[in-house]
């Protein structure tokens, strides 16, 4: 049962990471990256490390999402420049 939950969470982490790489919109990619760290935090809880999960949830899902949001707002849609191949 517990292994099944861990496998489901790992598949969700992989799906979120692939989406964060593949999505064209910066905002959607940022949300998907936050989702990957959210699933990682739940995975840590299921594996029995609540303190690691709390740190991952506060830094990975909360703080880095806010910092990325601020950065996207400051650079204001620069994804349409020469970086896209």
């Amino acid at each position: 049962m517990r292994e099944l939950v861990v496998y489901l969470l790992c598949a969700s982490i992989i799906a979120s990471g692939l989406l964060a790489v593949r999505l064209a919109s910066l905002m959607a990619a940022m949300v998907s990256g936050g989702l990957a760290s959210l699933f990682a935090a739940v995975c840590y809880v299921v594996l029995g490390a609540p303190d690691v999960a709390m740190t991952e949830a506060s830094i990975g899902s909360g703080l880095s999402t806010l910092i990325f949001l601020y950065a996207i707002r400051r650079t204001a849609g620069a994804e349409d420049s020469a970086w896209r191949s």
Binding site: L8, L19, M27, A28, L35, L38, P50
Partner: protein, 86 residues
Amino acid sequence: MAEGILVVSAVLIFFGVAFGVLRLMLGYTLVDRVAAVDLLTVVSISLIALDAHVAGRFIYLDVALVYGVLSFLAMLAVARYLERGF
């Protein structure tokens, strides 16, 4: 009886995660994806609470609490961004 309730909630959480990830991958607009992430956050909190009950470790509920507050703040920031635009 209690076992049955736990199994039903585990099945519901499974389908919540599955359909949430499906909506995130298919999502037509950005708002769909943000709503899917919010749904997955709530489902994850319920998964943590269920695991706290099954494993009998109630310190996991603190993680669920911190998680709920932080995801609320992140969704608030994203919603403010979506309303104001660039």
